[in-house]
């Protein structure tokens, strides 16, 4: 049983992984054919991974309704929202436009999903101003450098800020837009590149651990 439960999955990860690595160095047609097959399979397997999210969402809200937990009534809205997308999709065969006319599916996207999803993230703008006020602390020299860079970018990215800069610091002969370009192209590149190289090596090591079956926490416990 251990063989089926553990060895075979570990063999799968090793074989697919090593062959994928090899395909980078082997241009032969056999290698291309193999990669093509894997591509098609991978695309389909990933499509089913979506079911994980779906099942867990439905399951947790079904549980709430069943237990009549606090605020269980709201959980009904999860199902209503789901149906508000899926029912029109079934009626229209998944098409948002037919002969230049928006279908009910297109309508649901535009006025329900679009409004909800974009507002959820728009709310963050409010929190960023309150964070700026309540928890942006210039408490050290490092934080001060961070603040200066942020200050220049926030100011210089909008026309009004550029005008203020020009009227106050115009005598320096440096436009704020030039300074932003410099920050983005010189020190920020150095900072990011250092992080990037470190992360890249980390990712390669982790991938090697996965392929060789050393890292297997994603498989869960026995």
């Amino acid at each position: 049983m251990k063989f089926i439960k553990k060895q075979i999955p570990l063999a799968i990860v090793m074989v697919t992984g090593l062959l994928m690595v090899a395909s980078y160095y082997i241009p032969h047609k056999y290698s291309v054919d193999y990669v093509e097959l894997m591509n098609k399979w991978e695309n389909i397997v990933s499509a089913f991974a979506f079911l994980l999210g779906l099942v867990s969402l439905f399951y947790s809200h079904y549980g709430k309704i069943k237990r009549k937990a606090d605020g269980w009534g709201y959980s009904l809205f999860v199902y209503i929202g789901f149906l508000a997308m899926v029912v029109p999709a079934m009626m229209t065969d998944g098409r948002q436009m037919v002969d230049g006319q928006v279908t009910s599916l297109g309508w649901s996207f535009r006025y329900i999903y679009n409004a909800l999803s974009s507002t959820m993230f728009a709310v963050l703008a409010f929190y960023i101003v309150s964070t700026a006020y309540r928890s942006f602390r210039i408490k050290s020299r490092q934080a001060f450098v961070l603040f200066v860079a942020a200050f220049v970018l926030i100011l210089g990215k909008v026309p009004l800020g550029q005008m203020i800069w020009d009227s106050l610091l115009g005598w320096t002969g440096q436009g704020v837009a030039d300074i932003i370009e410099w920050i983005m192209q010189v020190p920020a590149v150095a900072g990011k590149r250092g992080i990037m190289i470190g992360i890249a090596i980390g990712a390669i090591v982790t991938s090697l651990k996965i392929i060789f079956g050393i890292e297997k926490q994603y498989m869960g416990k026995d």
Binding site: T131, R134, I204
Partner: protein, 414 residues
């Protein structure tokens, strides 16, 4: 099929036209000597390499045209046309160990798909080239047979393969070494604060919040976070303080439950362990953040740890923690969220420091050895960049072109 035939016929007529016209003219065209057509090396068999020597009559007012023909169809198809001074071996983008990039030869890579459509490797083909000046053919090469083939190795990617092999060797060396004896890891500033934070919590009799973020068990930061949690909860058990771990992902929660339980066991206080230390909150990013925020502002914990994978919710969490007066220690590898943690928290583990913290605290051989490989990689980068700059500057100054090319090719991706 018929469509193809008609197409071929039209092409035949079109290309035959000028040839006939020239043939009817006065001067017979000369020949291009040394014209060769071979399989393009290091590819899957989708292209053919044409080469011929640069001639004395190649000038900017003349141009070369190449033609290809498949035996199945017959007739010449017109390929690329280019200025006669262009396209030498130098323009083919291959490294010095796989390609001789002299300027004495014209070299042209013909993509078979563009010229013939879908044909399998190995199809017998013919190629020729013409030198045109002012619309008339000045010279023509003999037609040469060629066939592409599928190759077995990308010699141009040899540098990449060598880097990888070195890394694998170092990796396995470190893994076997780490098991034998501990390897050194430097002190990490934020970690010293853990004791302070837990001590404070014990004094105040208030709980500690440990927020592992919204990652799944496959992200490195979550894995690192789980290891750190192990150490933190061990200390919590020793000090007899209280810890709360709200979760976003059910699988991470199961893993964390095991880890905390184990820590309490190791600290010798299995009786103090409770199942509800780890609890599931929500699998939606914002509901999760909102609920955790609510708990933090109600319970006013002594310390908050934000370790793991965080996205937009980082600013919601850090702000509430700061406002409630808790000691905050954060760590994530998501760069766009680090500014929020850095400005609002007392200590922040930046990027790889988070991974290192996991290794530092747990002394887990696997983590430590991975860290060693990463350090080795960084050492390679630091050495290559500093040496590379010196050598390239020197080489450029002294016009050692091949030397500069060798250095650049070593790090170039093909």
């Amino acid at each position: 099929m018929t469509k193809n035939k008609i197409k071929a016929l039209i092409i035949l007529l079109l290309t035959a036209g000028p040839v006939l016209a020239v043939a009817g003219g006065k001067a017979a065209p000369g020949t291009i000597d040394g014209f060769t057509a071979v399989d393009m090396p290091y590819d899957a068999g989708a292209s053919v390499l044409l080469k011929w020597p640069v001639g004395p009559s190649d000038s900017a007012d003349a141009s070369y045209v190449v033609y290809g023909s498949s035996l199945a169809e017959g007739g010449w198809r017109k390929g690329e046309e280019f200025v006669a001074t262009a396209k030498t071996c130098k323009d083919i983008n291959l490294p010095f160990w796989a390609w001789d990039s002299g300027e004495a030869q014209h070299a042209l890579k013909v993509e078979l798909n563009t010229l013939f459509g879908d044909i399998p490797p190995g199809t017998p083909l013919k190629f020729k080239a013409q030198l045109l000046r002012k619309g008339s053919v000045e010279a023509e090469s003999p037609a040469v047979d060629a066939a592409s083939k599928s190759n077995w190795f990308r010699l141009d990617r040899l540098n990449n393969l060598l880097f990888l092999l070195v890394m694998i060797v170092i990796f396995f060396w470190a893994v076997s070494h780490a098991k034998r004896k501990g390897l050194f890891i430097r002190r990490i500033a934020g970690l010293d604060a853990i004791d302070e934070a837990i001590g404070r919590a014990t004094e105040m009799g208030k709980p500690i919040f440990y927020v592992p973020g919204i990652g799944t068990m496959s992200s490195i930061s979550t894995i690192a976070s789980a290891f750190i949690l192990g150490e933190v909860s061990k200390k919590v058990a020793q000090y007899d303080s209280d810890i709360k771990i709200p979760h976003y992902d059910p699988i991470v929660m199961t893993v964390c439950k095991e880890i905390v339980k184990q820590s309490y066991l190791e600290a010798g206080r299995p009786d103090s362990y409770r199942e509800d230390m780890n609890f599931f909150v929500s699998a939606d990013q914002f509901s999760y953040a909102a609920s955790v925020d609510g708990m933090i502002s109600r319970e006013k914990p002594a310390a908050c740890f934000f370790m793991g994978y965080f996205m937009a919710e980082s600013l919601l969490l850090a702000e509430v923690g700061a406002a409630s007066g808790a000691i905050q220690i954060a760590g994530t590898d998501i760069e766009s969220q680090l500014p929020f943690f850095f400005t609002a928290c007392d200590y922040t583990l930046i990027g790889e420091e988070l991974y290192a913290a996991g290794a530092y605290l747990s002394k887990e051989p696997m983590l430590v050895s991975a860290l060693k490989v990463q350090d080795f990689g960084k050492l390679v980068v630091m050495a290559s960049v500093s040496l590379g700059i010196v050598l390239v500057s020197l080489g450029t100054k002294l016009h050692w072109d091949f030397f500069v090319r060798v250095i650049l090719n070593l790090f170039k991706a093909y």
